[in-house]
């Protein structure tokens, strides 16, 4: 799960988390008691919102890239993605 969530966990952290999440899952398991025959899942947003597709002034690249941990020109710079052969 930690890998799927892109989190490196220390062994002691992993152990504590497994224990705590076990307790939380046991608690939320109470939902099995509820009779949900014929119940639809709640959709919190009840209306679709539409608008005209109009051009707007976006943030400047400079404003956005000011927060970049690493940049190269107008790009975010990141470590390599693909394994080398």
């Amino acid at each position: 799960m930690a890998r799927l969530a892109r989190l490196d966990l220390q062994p002691d952290e992993r152990e504590r988390l497994a224990l705590q999440l076990g307790l939380v899952l046991e608690y939320v398991g109470r939902l099995a008691e509820v009779d949900l025959e014929g119940v639809q899942p709640d959709v919190p947003v009840r209306t679709n919102v539409f608008r005209e597709d109009q051009p707007d002034r976006p943030l400047s690249p400079e404003a956005v890239l000011a927060n970049a941990p690493a940049r190269q020109g107008d790009y975010f710079r990141i470590p390599r993605i693909l394994e080398e052969d």
Partner: protein, 489 residues
């Protein structure tokens, strides 16, 4: 001056008995004296605030109207974006982040003439009920600095309770405005889902999050809600509905209103909290309301459903913090390792717990048993509320089962901490408005009466809170911080 509510300060500012700059200097002075004890703030912008106050004074001197909040110092929870000031969300992963834009609510505050003095402490990414989960240290309760202020909007509640600022903004995903308001003896309102724009609020659980006011009394909540509420094209869930004149609705009272009490759900309430609650409801009966027992048979399942749905949404929302575009980056040999290391170093324990929990309940094989089931439970909880609110005008119950607890008491047991939200989360699942108003103290600590109403019926909630306040003015009590402030002044 720190004892006055916003609605008492405004006429003094308008008739020039009081200058915005002087009010600001008093607020900054009080913040400076109390911060070492309380730690309500993460960032302050004294110079920008002074420039704004001078501008407001110039406008008022010239006889112009700079807006309904002109000259009032306000504080923002640090998960709301203000251009040029860090937005950390109480997290190391956003420590270097300075947003390039303003949240819609911030723009509205500024357009109303309010002066933002700074950003307040919170549980990391608003995940918590005590403000102990902040990467930058806990905030303390002005009524007893050995106790928590509640959370996650603990810094905003303390800033108001301690008289640092008259008004503050919080966000409420499962009780994060109402619970700290109750713990600190102030008023807090979680608006109907869609009443206030979420644009520029860092998302925790998008289907539950709402921004709302924290203030010294109900009238100030009404005033601030009127400024915050209304359509925003930048948040597609923010509905285009007229915004009532909330302060004008305050004096409608509760004469003839039916107030529902979910007695079965409140069984086992500790005797002193029960006594405080009974006293508040009897006071409302004295104002002309009638009490009706109501049954919300599924409300006890709101908390377990919440602790599936909110972490699930969080695990998805927090995927964006990956070290690529902003915030912390811990380098690694490839991009996946960089992301894993960045997130490991940047997130605190509670955020990691919720991300892993949410990833688990959304994963193939468990989605049906957890996430889908919780969504259906959300439906039946919402239906319970609808049916109850068809029979009565408002629901009333305590905001929290217990008053503020000592720092450190619940940090080792996440589940015990989660139970702090047992009376508040249902409102978020159902998308309804909820108000917390001070009621009689419990063991010398503040307690809150929670008033819940139909969607878009904030006016009636506020009128009920106002009725209680007019006969039981517990909101006027001053916390201990006022004593040591007086001693040092």
């Amino acid at each position: 001056m720190h004892r006055l509510a916003a609605h008492q300060l405004l006429p003094r500012l308008r008739d020039r008995q009081l200058r915005a700059r002087d009010l600001l200097e008093q607020a900054l002075g009080r913040i400076g004296r109390l911060e070492p004890t309380l730690h309500a703030f993460l960032h302050l912008q004294a110079d920008q605030a002074r420039a704004q106050a001078d501008r407001i004074d110039a406008e008022l001197d010239a006889g112009r109207d700079p807006g309904p909040l002109a000259g009032l110092p306000v504080a923002l929870k640090d998960n709301l974006c203000l251009q040029g000031m860090p937005t950390t969300c109480g997290s190391r992963i956003l420590e270097p982040f300075v947003p390039p834009y303003d949240a819609t609510v911030v723009r509205r505050l500024q357009a109303a003439g309010a002066i933002v003095v700074g950003k307040t402490n919170l549980d990391e990414f608003a995940m918590g009920s005590s403000t102990e989960n902040s990467a930058f240290g806990p905030t303390r309760n002005p009524w007893d600095p050995g106790r928590v202020p509640g959370g996650s909007s603990g810094g905003s509640a303390v800033a108001v309770a301690a008289g640092m600022v008259p008004l503050a903004l919080g966000s409420d995903t499962g009780g994060s405005i109402r619970q700290p308001a109750a713990f600190c003896g102030v008023c807090g309102l979680k608006p109907t889902y869609g009443r206030v724009s979420r644009h520029g609020l860092v998302a925790f659980a998008s289907s539950l999050d709402q921004v709302g006011p924290l203030a010294r009394d109900v009238r100030d909540c009404a005033l601030l809600l009127g400024v915050l509420a209304g359509h925003d094209p930048l948040d597609s869930t923010c509905e285009d509905r007229p915004v009532p004149d909330y302060p004008a609705l305050l004096e409608r009272g509760v004469e003839g209103l039916r107030l529902g009490i979910p007695r079965a759900f409140l069984q086992g309430l500790e005797p002193e909290m029960a006594t405080s609650f009974e006293e508040a409801t009897e006071a409302l009966v004295g104002c002309g309301a009638r009490l009706v027992d109501v049954d919300l048979p599924h409300l006890e399942y709101a908390l377990p459903a919440y602790y599936i749905l909110a972490p699930a949404e969080a695990s998805s929302n927090l995927a964006r913090f990956d070290g690529v575009r902003y915030g912390l980056r811990v380098s690694g040999p490839d991009v996946a390792a960089m992301m894993r290391r960045t997130r490991a170093a940047g997130f605190g324990a509670e955020v990691k717990r919720r991300i892993v929990l949410g990833t688990y309940t959304l994963s193939a094989g468990y989605h049906e048993a957890y996430y889908s089931r919780a969504q259906k439970v959300r439906s039946v909880v919402s239906r319970d509320f609808q049916e109850a609110l068809a029979r009565v005008d408002l629901l009333v119950l305590p905001t929290t089962p217990i008053p503020a607890f000592p720092l450190g008491e619940k940090t080792a047991d996440p589940l015990d901490m989660y139970l702090s939200d047992v009376y508040t989360v249902g409102v978020n699942l159902a998308g309804l408005p909820g108000l917390s108003v001070p009621m009689a103290p419990v063991r010398g600590l503040p307690a809150g009466l929670q008033v819940i109403g139909r969607a878009w019926d904030e006016g009636r909630l506020l009128a009920c809170g106002q009725a209680l306040q007019s006969v039981r003015p517990y909101h006027l009590a001053q916390p201990q911080a006022a004593l040591f402030d007086g001693g040092m002044a």
